[in-house]
């Protein structure tokens, strides 16, 4: 086993443990903090895939924006800072069995695929050139349309979020 493999296994173990804590811890604020650790583990695995750009984007967008937004929502939607009672549904073992089955099925199907043990070839020089990616995003013959659609989606989400969350009591009543 190389150092890289050991490092990957450690990162994967930490990430999966943090993810399990996200879905199982009783205190919702602790779940939000565990989520940050899980997202950071994902960012490290992006870096291991030699896509440093997305590792940085993951830290900036997910940890810097989405996780903070979730923490804000946790703090805004509670009267007291203690979560009483169970945080899982009564029949929580049914989804547990379902996802265990799904995981076994996924790994089973993947292991029959011929490309499952593919080793990475050396990364071509062109693949780490960020300016090429930027040009591809605005090139009409490449990915200009998905890029614009994403922009419109963000704008729509922005307007929709403000509209949904705004306090319109003065207008309605």
């Amino acid at each position: 086993m190389t150092i890289q493999q050991v490092f990957f296994l450690a990162v994967a173990a930490i990430t999966l443990f943090a993810a399990v804590m996200v879905v199982s811890t009783r205190r919702i604020m602790h779940a939000a903090l565990w989520l940050i650790l899980a997202l950071f583990g994902v960012a490290v695995s992006f870096a291991l895939l030699e896509t440093g750009f997305f590792a940085v984007v993951q830290v900036v967008v997910y940890i810097g924006a989405i996780a903070i937004l979730i923490i804000f929502a946790v703090m805004l939607t509670r009267q007291v800072f203690l979560d009483v009672g169970p945080q899982l549904n009564r029949g929580w073992w049914i989804p547990a069995v379902l996802v265990a089955g799904l995981y076994a099925a996924l790994v089973g199907v993947l292991s029959t695929w011929s490309g499952f043990q593919t080793q990475a070839a050396a990364l071509p020089e062109a693949a780490s050139d960020l300016s090429q990616f930027g040009l591809a995003l605005v090139d009409v013959n490449a990915y200009a349309v998905p890029f614009e659609v994403a922009s419109v989606l963000l704008l729509g989400a922005l307007v929709g979020a403000i509209f949904v969350a705004s306090d319109r009591k003065g207008v309605e009543r």
Binding site: F8, A12, T15, L16, A19, V22, V23, I28, L35, A38, V42, S45, L49, T51, F53, F54, V57, Y62, I66, L69, I70, A73, T77, D83, P86, Q87, L88, N89, P95, A96, L98, V99, L102, Y103, L106, L110, S111, G115, Q117, T118, Q119, A120, A121, P124, A126, A127, Q132, F133, A136, L137, Y143, P146, F147, A150, L153, L154, A157, G160, A161, A165
Partner: protein, 102 residues
């Protein structure tokens, strides 16, 4: 080097944990956290396939960027909905949000 299978197994486990959170948690914010875990698992898969099979082509990167944008939009709108619901009903426990139950 790390084989592709390790990334796929890791992402599948992360996706399943997120799915469990979506199905089993009571708090709407915790359900959104489960969705975030699932989206991250998808991104690991996309980047792993890009790295191992389609390396110099930027299609995979574009896909990941779109998923990131969709995740940000989903979180913003979802949390706005949760805050709106909390303002009207004073709860974010999805069991209590049975207004549309027949």
């Amino acid at each position: 080097m790390i084989p592709l299978s390790w990334y796929l197994i890791f992402a599948a486990a992360l996706f399943c944990i997120g799915l469990f959170g979506v199905m089993a948690r009571k708090n709407a914010v915790a359900i959104l956290m489960g969705v975030e875990l699932m989206l991250n698992a998808v991104n690991i898969n996309l980047l792993a396939f890009w790295r191992y099979l389609y390396a110099p082509d930027f299609a995979g990167w574009t896909f990941v960027a779109i998923v990131l944008v969709a995740a940000a939009a989903e979180t913003a709108v979802g949390l706005a909905l949760i805050i709106s619901v909390y303002r009207r009903r004073s709860t974010v426990v999805v069991d209590d949000l049975s207004l549309m139950k027949g």
